[in-house]
Amino acid sequence: MQLSLDTFLLGAFVYLTAAVISVPIATRLGLGSVLGYLIAGMLIGPSVLGFVGSEGQDVLHFAEFGVIVMLFLIGLELQPSKLWTLRKPILGLGGMQVIGTAAALALALILFGLGWQTSITIGLILAMSSTAIVLQSLAERGQLKTSGGQAVFSVLLFQDIAVIPILALLPLLAAGGGAPAPETHGYLGSLPAWQQALVVFAAVALIVLAGRYLMRPLFRLIAMTGLREIFVALALALVVGITLLMETVGLSPALGTFLAGVLLAESEYRHELEMDLEPFKGILLAVFFIAVGAGIDFKLIATEPVLIFGGVLAFILVKLVVLYAIARFARMKPPRASLFSFSLAQGGEFAFVLISFAGGLGLLALAEANMLVAIVALSMAAAPLLMMLDAKIIQPRFESQGFRREADKIDQTGSQAIILGHGRFGMTVGRVLAANGSRATVLDHDVEQIDALRKFGFKVFYGDATREDLMQAAGAADAKILVVAIDNREKINEIVQMARRNFPHLEIFARAFDRTHAYELLNAGVEHVYREVFDSSLALAEDALVALGTHPYEAARALRLFRRHDETLIRRTARHAGDIDTIVDISRAAQAEIERVLSGDQQPRPDYSPDRGWGALAEVAQDPRSMSENEEKAAS
């Protein structure tokens, strides 16, 4: 396709503008960015506004590079040792998922009356999930590193690997069906099998060896030039090069770059690479999602609405059932199994590749292929909605159920303190209380965290702390203090309001994110408010003063004074929150005041210095020159 600069720029403008308009709206509505991109794509696509036309498929292919970059970045965060620990879920969960889903779908289609070759082909195609949508959505919600997220990731990784044997299998199916000879696939297709295997092995070995021995010195060399753009260029060249190599030998480029990423995960350039490639990944993925949205053929859907929507629904349902069964078989608890199933129950970008490949083999008729493309694209559009359904409706139910199971135990604890949130903030509070003989009742919503903590003997319970009945069960009626240490600003405010309304006797100790949040909490009537990084920044400032030559005790005292001053100030200004001018006035005056206090040493100002007792000023009265006659006599 001949793409002039003008058409390219116009296209880029349409895509970017669509993203800029729709994504903020989608995230504001709580739908997540992926759905925003998909909707933007549908709007600008040929079926609705028609801003972009038939080149959508090319754009889609181009934007798949975003998925490849994403896999590279994921690889960067996964050390080889960690990948090794994932081998069981990758092979076990992944293998069961691909085979199970393909078999179930194929069986259904055979019963539906399709030929067995076509049925198996469609089953294999639809077994793939969307790495891009799923990982992006999980990352957005911070679930990628939870064990549920890891299980999802393992399956996606296995699917990437499985594409290779599937590509090899489809021609066999086609041959069985008496279809025309398969079109050659990459460079590899023209070689005999043993040579193909050899080339694949050589390509992987090349990546491993280069990643191990070549890339680090090369990055070091480039880093020494100090030219950032050359470093970016090298990083991009690396990913593009691997993509080309993998496509030449017929392997998944995503898999190749993932491998390269893993090999560089332990290198000192990891963070640099992540930072440099992140924007490329983001933009390309956005274009990818938009292209998927634009590719949905609404005219086709309009002609066959029942078949297509029915197909989407049935397909998602089958996937859900198979995934949930696998998850339970793998001993996942229901909440995690649900996250796992709802995350993976959609078609993926590999499906498009496989559909066109199978079409070329004659395994799929043109009409079937078009319909499949529509079904897969629709299921991808539905994916964010499915994940939201799980997060917003299904998980909360598990939370209440999971909690009810443990309610009795909570009742027996009789702790005087309840800590909500046992992350980096609440954990310290809990440890200090425990070390001093006050075991607190702890509530958290991270299942994995809870299991780990219980092994350490903490009474940690699973649950959403905004719920009043849960607080009741945690013993809020008998407790003395409530520590709100979760890392969600809105939820903190919600809990504080709920607690003050229902348990007015509880003394609340709340974590505040920043000054503004502290204002909100103070104005909500919370007396004990702790800005989460305030004390550590003071501790750093104290050490910095000492490093600059201030006596350690004077530094410590200066910081204690500053702390008290600021805590007073924040309480004085809290009721003016929102009135910037007044706050500025009060703060200015207060700043001048603390500066006078703390600089008391340089310019003694007896009126302000709180430690003038340590200076000689108090002894002025004992100036020997001012002694009375009587004393003079005694002195002599």
């Binding site: 006596h551 350690p552 340590w614 000689a616 100036d623 005694a634 002195a635």
Partner: protein, 215 residues
């Protein structure tokens, strides 16, 4: 006594306390005079424990390693800055410094090195401060006695703030001389016992033992 207690090298520990050193000219000058002498451990308590959490084990180990303990500090309210009190309260433990088995400080020496706001003349029975310095220091004196230590005549800089630069320098060199003398054995601490100080039994026992050896 001096003959029996032959002069010898002494390891000296200076426990220094001033909560606002940057504002104190006198204490800084005195500290500068002794803080880097070899054979002398200069230990700034406020610097070591800005949060007052005194490491008792470390302090006891330091005490055990030294022979002469000098408490150097301004004479706040006829006593010492707060951290000295905290130090005494926590470090001089029962069973370690005194009481049954508390013999770790036996036959060591304790001395205050202080600076006052008032003049020498004020510290008289008929002066403004009504007591002698040695009277006002009696809690230290008795603490030393309880721990089986010899309590020495204090080193005092009177009305430090009103001293001329030369006089202060002179005082500082006196102080340095005293510390060096004690360290090198030129000055026998037994000749510098506080006025009317009755040596605790720990010293008596040693003296008797030495006498027995001699005969």
């Amino acid at each position: 006594m001096g003959i029996l207690y032959l002069a010898s090298f002494m390891k000296i520990l200076i426990l220094f306390a001033h909560p606002r050193l940057s504002g104190s000219h006198v204490q800084r000058t005195l500290s500068d005079a002794v803080s880097s002498l070899s054979g002398v451990t200069f230990h700034d308590l406020y610097a070591a424990y800005p949060d007052f959490t005194i490491d008792v084990a470390r302090e006891q180990a330091l005490l055990a390693e030294h022979d002469v303990i000098v408490l150097q500090h301004p004479f706040y309210w006829y006593s010492a800055p707060a951290i000295i009190k905290e130090w005494l309260d926590l470090v001089l433990e029962l069973g370690w410094a005194y009481g049954p088995g508390g013999d770790k400080l036996h036959r060591k020496f304790l001395m205050n090195a202080i600076s006052t706001g008032g003049a020498d003349a004020a510290y008289r029975r008929h002066g403004r401060n009504r007591f002698e310095i040695t009277d006002l220091l009696s809690p230290f004196n008795q603490s030393a006695h309880l721990c089986g230590m010899a309590y020495l005549e204090p080193f005092v800089v009177f009305a430090g703030r009103w001293l001329t630069a030369e006089d202060l320098a002179l005082k500082a060199s006196d102080y340095q001389g005293l510390i060096e003398g004690l360290r090198d054995g030129h000055i026998d601490p037994m000749t510098r016992l506080a006025k009317a100080y009755a040596l605790p039994l720990a010293f008596e026992a040693q003296r008797l033992q030495k006498k027995r050896h001699a005969t």
